[in-house]
Symmetry: C2
Subunit: 339 residues, 2 copies
DNA sequence: CTGAAAGCGCTTACAG
DNA sequence: CTGAAAGCGCTTACAG
């Protein structure tokens, strides 16, 4: 059934039926009830495409799957997408997902012209990121998950990874550690850059030298964590503690530590960032892992909310939010032992 | 710019411009060139919503994020979504993602009435699954990733997990193992059911008793793998080999094996199913893990292709495809040693 | 080979 | 409080 049929069935005009259904105040309450009832009865659902064409709004957000080499780690991205889908559903929006197979820029351009989404969600932000400017130029609203160097205001949500990793470093320093490694992502991504800064500033604030030789950057996989940790443990002066940018890196690091005949906690202290993925949880480890924790799924939901605000015309410069990250102390971080 | 402006700019009618752009054969080649050129020049992109309303097709597929408790494992699902997005983009389609926050059925109903997607993609199929019938009843096209018990024909793609796990079992039996454990997912899901059947039939074919006490079903997480393996290793007659339904279960199992002071391969043989996620790769383990392998991302792309076929009106009963799974032999599977 | 016109199914000033 | 009418931006028989 469509609107015309519904209105004929009711003996009312399309105008009135439409207004009744859309909650306008100038409809007789009695009439509204009849309309709503009949709509339910006949199973009427407005044709979304007609609505979109008529109103110019789509109630849909867009997000593009970054290219293979150009993302941090898939499971985190995907969990984020799930969060966005949740948040979008929560405020009555849908989510349109695109793959950047034919080039990311093409993809953004098409979306902007298409009129298919009200706002675009950007992830995996880099320090130097052309996308914010491109979209602003295309007149396409967007909100970023993560910060970037931008001369124009842009809507964004981010976690304070710098503070998180500084506190993680300070915790380990407080436990007596000095040789504290950092297994990080690619520093072109703002998040990795912030974490690096946090790690450095933990030493600076304590007036200690920064052990730059214990820094490893790259992929955020189990394999990368394993290889990096194995390499560091082979050093003449190996680390006594390590901070990992994600649970997959941590899983690899744990494996390398065991392979070297060492024990997590007793021999090597470990702190990992936990994005809250259910497939790999720090509490399950033995000893359980100390973590900096922030749910990437919740972040997705929050970004969706912000996208709704942007779509509803909020002032861009006001749509920003930086949240703290929890530090959860568990047994994988222990006082440095004398040899 | 819209079609009207473009056609005025060209001094042609909207009809002709539209036909030229959509590749109709009855347009003068010269004219078509002028039109295409001008469209590019002015940056014309058709308003997708108007197109959808006019044609009744959306060139969009839909997929719904299953509810938290109702999914196998998020990273696999998400990698699948990425594959679908790839495949959809490849055939000029988009992907609409929904979260089932207000109930899965409501979600499907709305989508079906909405006219927002041409075909729906169903994942995490259960043996008893009401969705196929519901959608057929709603007149909504769909294609399933996985099989289900259905009295009506349904479009589906699946991997032959039964054969994969039978072969994994036979490999281990051939190496002398008899106490072969299975760490599986929830058997209400068809995939877990098939794997279970495969494991059982490996023993049956070899005329051996099935070690039902070595079967563990549940979540597909690192934690679940760790706990299940620890429990099994504590048995009076522990397994000498284990088959894991995914890499996260395997990661947990590996950890439990090490914690017990045993070595993978030498003491306990291990075969895992690898979905091809880049964050956790079997080759990186020491020893590298023997796997049954099938890329879940490729599966997603294939399902998108099939959805395109369905949307283009292919006969449903013909849209089905069951693919074999590779068995990749590495050092984690070794001959049983005498004690 | 090209164009005028109707139609897709909604929304929304505007008039009453 | 309700309705007739125009419009959103396309596509597609149909006529020429």
């Amino acid at each position: 059934v469509n609107l015309k049929e519904l209105s004929e069935h009711l003996g009312l005009s399309k105008t009135t039926v439409s207004r009744a259904l859309n909650g306008f105040s100038d409809v007789n309450e009695e009439t509204r009830k009849r309309v709503v009832e009949a709509a339910k009865q006949l199973g009427y659902t407005p044709n979304a495409n007609a609505q979109r064409l008529a109103t110019g709004r789509t109630d849909t957000f867009g997000i593009v799957f970054p290219l293979a080499g150009d993302r941090l780690a898939d499971p985190m991205f995907s969990e984020f997408v799930a969060g966005v889908a949740d948040g979008a559903a929560h405020c009555g929006r849908g989510l349109y997902v695109l793959s950047a197979t034919d080039g990311e820029e093409t993809c953004y351009r098409r979306l902007a012209h298409n009129k298919v989404v009200d706002a675009l969600i950007l992830t995996d932000m880099k320090v130097e990121d052309l996308r914010v400017r491109l979209l602003s130029h295309l007149g396409q609203q967007c909100v970023c998950y993560g910060r970037t160097a931008s001369s124009i205001p842009y809507a964004h949500f981010d976690l304070d990874h710098e503070a998180a990793f500084r506190r993680a470093g300070e915790l380990l320093i407080g436990l007596g550690h000095r040789r504290i490694a950092l297994l990080n992502g690619d520093v072109r991504f703002t998040i990795a850059e912030h974490r690096h800064v946090g790690w450095v500033s933990a030493f600076r604030r304590a007036k200690l030298a920064v052990p730059e030789d214990l820094l490893a950057c790259g992929a955020m996989s189990e394999e990368a964590g394993y290889k990096a940790m194995r390499r560091l443990l082979g050093k003449s002066e190996p680390p006594s503690a390590v901070i990992c940018a994600c649970m997959f890196l941590a899983a690899g690091a744990v494996r390398a530590i065991r392979d070297a005949g060492l024990q997590v906690g007793r021999d090597i202290s470990l702190v990992a960032h936990d994005d809250g993925l259910s497939v790999i949880r720090p509490e399950a480890y033995d000893p359980p892992l100390t973590t900096t924790y922030a749910s990437v799924r919740a972040a997705g939901a929050r970004v969706a909310e912000m996208a709704a605000a942007v779509a509803d015309g909020a002032e861009i410069a006001t749509v920003k939010d930086i949240r703290p990250v929890d530090l959860i102390f568990r047994d994988s971080a222990q006082p440095l032992r004398a040899k």
